[in-house]
Symmetry: D2
Subunit: 341 residues, 4 copies
């Protein structure tokens, strides 16, 4: 970390900062510059909280240099992590497709959709039993009844299932039914939930919060890994911006950035980012182009009648087209890459 | 709600949308326009989920007309709500000042600060026992030990205390110690927590999420009120933008907007918005100017040694200046207002 | 347009709004709803300025229904426009690659790079002679000397050239040298410049402003088309968000949205969006995946010595890889699409 | 500036960066840290372009330390600048109120409004003759005829007049009529216009762009000052965010931040930020509370009939209330401040 002093900071103020740094157990190294003095903070094992020094007299700015995360970082583990969900790998060398309805509505609905998506190429089934809803008056999901439908889906189709956990109270229950436990965008910094996820035996699919920096997202993953669960799949699902033409703005540059910072796999959810069906195929193709490890998309056989997010759900025929395109792009890029060597 | 059809929507597509609306139990009223047809959705008791119709063939857009909230809305209850915390009112006619350290560190620290802020004019004391932290390696608060310190603060100074609850698991515990229970920005859409807060007997101070629209914020309050707890205090604390010169951007226009939409009191937290001490007094003065019902600010007697957010904590002397200024502005505006009548 | 009245608007207020609408020459059609009255504004030939009615007593909201643009809109011209730059088409059925340095530095630099990019597959050369720079102390471009270098590049390589015009004063000069005239993000709403571009005989490449909605961007194109120049190429280059890991956030969902709204071709500039080299290839692949009509990328043979934006310029070898990948993805998607029919 | 190397950067890569820094004429000072090496760039007279080094092998990040501006900076000129417009001061010790219609419509309209605002306390009159409009089909202002109306307003009321210049072509004309020349938000980085403003003999009111950082805004002012015109008044008018309840989000923390960085006066435009009348008085009161040197507000005697931005224009009676409140708050804060000493 670098503490930047004001141009007119006095000798006394500089000494005071040096002292404050050393009182915290770090080494302070003043660096005289052309216009001002900066002070390096060295030999810190973990990250230093910059705000400790920002308020001291004469301090202009505090600049972090070291990354605040460890376990999720590539400096800690250089090789890519591949998470296994039953037979399905998620990570380098594979392009994993997860599909299904936003909310589970009935056994018939779930199995109909699951058969469609399996036929067209999905590797896992998604479906929400507990739904986070902005309004207390909206459909909140089938709860435990929905989880039992997931069991049935797995039994009938063989697909592993992904479903969301919304709170600590229902974690045991969800964990007992899910193959992958999803933590949604609104809960990305629900730290009690993250700590509980750190004790889980199942992989966690961690969505990025709608206004989270990549650093905050990785720190949320750090909470889970720090608890002992190393099976974390990151999922980019769009950030909130001033833009109106899509529900959120899919931040695809996060994918190569996460790739450079972390060994964890990262997939993309174009359905929630777009909020409208006609952008889902283009954005899925973009996601494979940008180098994501997979996608998670919403599919419904009768989206006009869906109880949740029908407007963004693909028809099964559209999902077939999507799968064909993303798989062929993925293979093409792998081929180009190996030829390029 | 208004369903807007494409310019070239066919008769059949329009009929299909009308049918879909009526199947949901609403009345559809087509409105032929100069360039296109729109279809009004009428007689809905509660809000309609627009996404139900957005994906139908021929539909260009779906525009909500009615507000999605009820209990928090001024149309439901026109007169301003005033929440009472012991002797301290929060709401129209009062300007409530809440102050204290970010995190509780020790009984001595808490009581020292509480005495300062009481002397200079605070009406309530704030201090965190459970701290939401981006990093699992940061100081997480004293927990129950911190809550006991709050009891002591109340006993010694008589000030009611505000403290944050982070999860369902500790809600009972926090509720038994707090006079006002704070739900933080990261938990604004932690719906399990909101539902639990709806059963609480204590007032809830609900912070706005860093990327929440006012509508989402009011819907979060609606969760609490729908559960039976009508004592909700809203707290604006800045939103995340591209701006670097403050930690977040304090959105003061939210105050008059909330005032026009809701009967609930709304206060402002300039400390977390700014993230730096030198903006706290100016932003507090702005908050009273914009018509807030109060402020919540961080004060520390030795901010350089604070375990959390020291850079944004005021020195007691600064807090004295702040109180003097905001109180006199508040009285002045009340006087001007009554003279203006 | 729809004028939404307050729930408690009086009969008189409603009549007053009806009158105000009709005084402007429109037809007012009141629509009684379950909770409130709305008033449709009909038979308007062009767009109506909603703010005219927003301030009237009893009005809660004003909701636009019709799009504000005409000439750029697909309702005006359903078939896709293809712009021809010499032999090079830009638009449906082609994937156009534009490449070159950020700033022109010397004839030798330009020709070296132009030969590289031509060899690897670029269809046009880009290079700035007039550079918009945040700081008055930064390198501002070679000016007219740069334009003459472009003549040389065209002569030697046969590639058409794209270069930016910054102001009305130099428009004639730039127009006489350029094959495509670029209007940069900062000038997207420089209306004098847009009007002048409307009189130009050369195609205009119009970059989206960093905080422009798609609607504002299309309205900027409308200025150009309204002036008589129908040759407009839109270029998405990222929007400003809270995100730090890239300079701007590339908004790829804008591509399918523009496609649905407008007949104009739309390309993507990943270099300026990313601001860092290691994201340019992934984002280029994403751009072809999302359905863009082309890309514009920065390439430099010695980026470490570039006078401007070196950090985001590709090495020629990287550009070769990029071209191979985007061209093969483009062909694959065309093939899939034609097989899918 | 600090160049931060990757944890595993080789000796060779570090040497290469050192060499690159020294080739540019700077002094490189490597700083070995606990986990990685950083390299300070020293003795630079002006700002260094960090992107020059960001792309070098082994470089992880480049961190600016010195501010990029000089003439506008407080390090250059510590004492506050006060700009004089005729008898009216703008800057420390005064609270300047500028008011008038968005667009000039007729002599009668302008003089009617000017008389109102003068009576209630405005120090200057504002009114647009050239209007930047998103749509080419909207009213574009009266042009030169509008400027002549300003002459009349000054003659009749004695108020100095503020009006916007949109382009280089009309700059001479506008300069000959205006007392203060406004450069609007969309033109904040129209560098040709800024250079021309640097040659003007009249004060420039420079609005902040809707997505401009304070640094970019100050750099735009630097363009003007560098050209020789030291009379620059900064005007905060809101930034674009995800928020819907106001047109833009007024960023009031920019005021104390600009104050700490620059000696230039800074005023606030609540009308364009809000876009709706009912937020203008609260935000004006917030502006004086936060420490602005003045406000610029829109007033119209018949806003329902205004040709532009009627919804945000105050009625004269509201402006009277606003003036009373902001003036009394300003005096109160001055009084408290002098007593506090």
């Amino acid at each position: 970390m670098l503490v930047v002093m004001h141009q007119k900071a006095t000798r006394e103020e500089i000494d005071n900062v040096v002292q404050a740094i050393e009182q915290r157990g770090y080494v302070a190294r003043p660096i005289p510059g052309g216009q001002r003095v900066s002070i390096g903070v060295l030999h810190n094992k973990g990250p230093v909280d910059g705000s400790l020094f920002l308020g001291l007299p004469g301090v202009k700015d505090v600049i972090p240099v070291t990354r605040p995360y460890k376990l999720v970082g590539r400096e800690f583990k250089p090789q890519d992590s591949v998470i296994r969900v039953g037979d399905v790998p998620v990570g380098k060398g594979f392009f994993t497709i997860i599909a299904g309805p936003c909310a589970l509505e009935s056994e018939e609905q779930a199995i109909t959709i699951a058969r469609h998506v399996k036929e067209f190429g999905a590797h896992m089934f998604r479906g929400g039993a507990f739904k986070p809803r902005t309004s207390p008056y909206s459909f909140q999901g089938l709860g435990e009844r929905g989880l039992k439908i997931l069991d049935k889906v797995r039994e009938v189709t063989g697909l592993p299932v992904v479903t969301e956990v919304m709170d600590y109270e229902n974690f045991d229950l969800v964990e007992s039914f899910a193959d992958v436990i999803q933590i949604g965008a609104r809960n990305m910094q629900n730290f009690s939930l993250l700590r509980r996820a750190g004790k889980a035996k199942k992989p966690i699919l961690l969505k990025r919060g709608i206004a989270a920096t990549v650093e905050e997202w990785l720190m949320a993953a750090e909470y889970i890994m720090e608890g002992g669960n190393e099976q974390v799949i990151l999922c980019e699902r769009g950030v909130r911006t001033f833009v109106h033409h899509s529900r959120n703005t899919l931040d695809l540059s996060a994918v190569p950035y996460v790739r450079s910072e972390s060994h964890l796999p990262v997939i993309v959810d174009p359905s929630h980012a777009a909020g409208r069906r006609d952008q889902v195929i283009p954005l899925s193709q973009a996601a494979v182009g940008v180098g994501a490890d997979g996608i998670m998309v919403e599919v419904h056989h009768t989206p006009d009648k869906a109880l949740s997010d029908g407007a963004q759900s693909l028809y099964p025929e559209q999902f077939r087209e999507l799968c064909r395109n993303v798989r062929s792009i993925y293979r093409l890029l792998q081929l180009n890459h190996s030829e390029g060597k």
